[in-house]
Symmetry: C2
Amino acid sequence: MLLSTKGDYGVRALIDLAKHTGEGPVQRAEIARRRKIPESYLDHLLAQLRRDGYLRSTRGPGGGHELAKAPDDITLLEVLESLEGSLVPMECVNEAPGSDAGALCGQQWVWQDIYTQMRERLAQTTIADLVDHERDHERQAAAMYSI
Amino acid sequence: MLLSTKGDYGVRALIDLAKHTGEGPVQRAEIARRRKIPESYLDHLLAQLRRDGYLRSTRGPGGGHELAKAPDDITLLEVLESLEGSLVPMECVNEAPGSDAGALCGQQWVWQDIYTQMRERLAQTTIADLVDHERDHERQAAAMYSI
DNA sequence: ACAATCTTGACCTAGCTAGTCGTGAATTAT
DNA sequence: ATAATTCACGACTAGCTAGGTCAAGATTGT
């Protein structure tokens, strides 16, 4: 498993915030309930996302969290690397291609290709895209239900 | 990290065996030395690869391990799945696309694409390709040295 | 003052990774 | 037979990471 729940939960939270942009701060408890995330764990993820500038938090009654950037200006790649650290699929991808360690590995070149493709795809996808996709899905579900 | 050392070491071992095809059994100790793998750990990996039919082992003096299939008939995908189990990059990729769990995740569709591409690439690459690549690398290194 | 909210850091547990080790079984050489 | 060689298999372990929980404090609105 390349991604832990951090990457999953953290992105869920950003999607939730993106959907409620312009409605004032959204509270931790709300996000946790809607997206099915343990509240006290979500804490850590919000803290990380705040440190890296993806959201702003305000305390006190009526406080909560808001996106600090436009949803279409946050790529999946940067968010996941913020939450998970490096996404390298295997250790030797980090070694210099000509190095002994790289050569010993034997699969290095294959995984470097895969890694590059993966990063490109993640860099092209933004939080806004994820929100759009979710809205499409909701519309479809609503249409099914109305029949 | 998607792959542990199992996938790395196991493939190294298969490359080593492929390079010595036709020379009789290769001993565990030799593989371990050449490929820098702890010998007693390599044991486990060879056992797994044997169980899944990639190699044959013979005991006693002069014994060792040999490939049970042609190197170009062993894909990286099958070997890695034998050694590592499923290669899904994140949990929700396994959920049904229309399901609640899949929808909650939000990134499912992106990672399903990435996963498909990754598997295709791994299925197209065989142990023989890895051996070829290593031989090319060796020739280049030899040419550099001779200057 | 008091209640609502976020902030921070300490803490915990289960399971996984990357091994090691010891015993035993098969095969061959003498 | 017996010794030497090599694989076979399972038990065991230390350290790390994932996925949390919890308590105490800071900030703000009423």
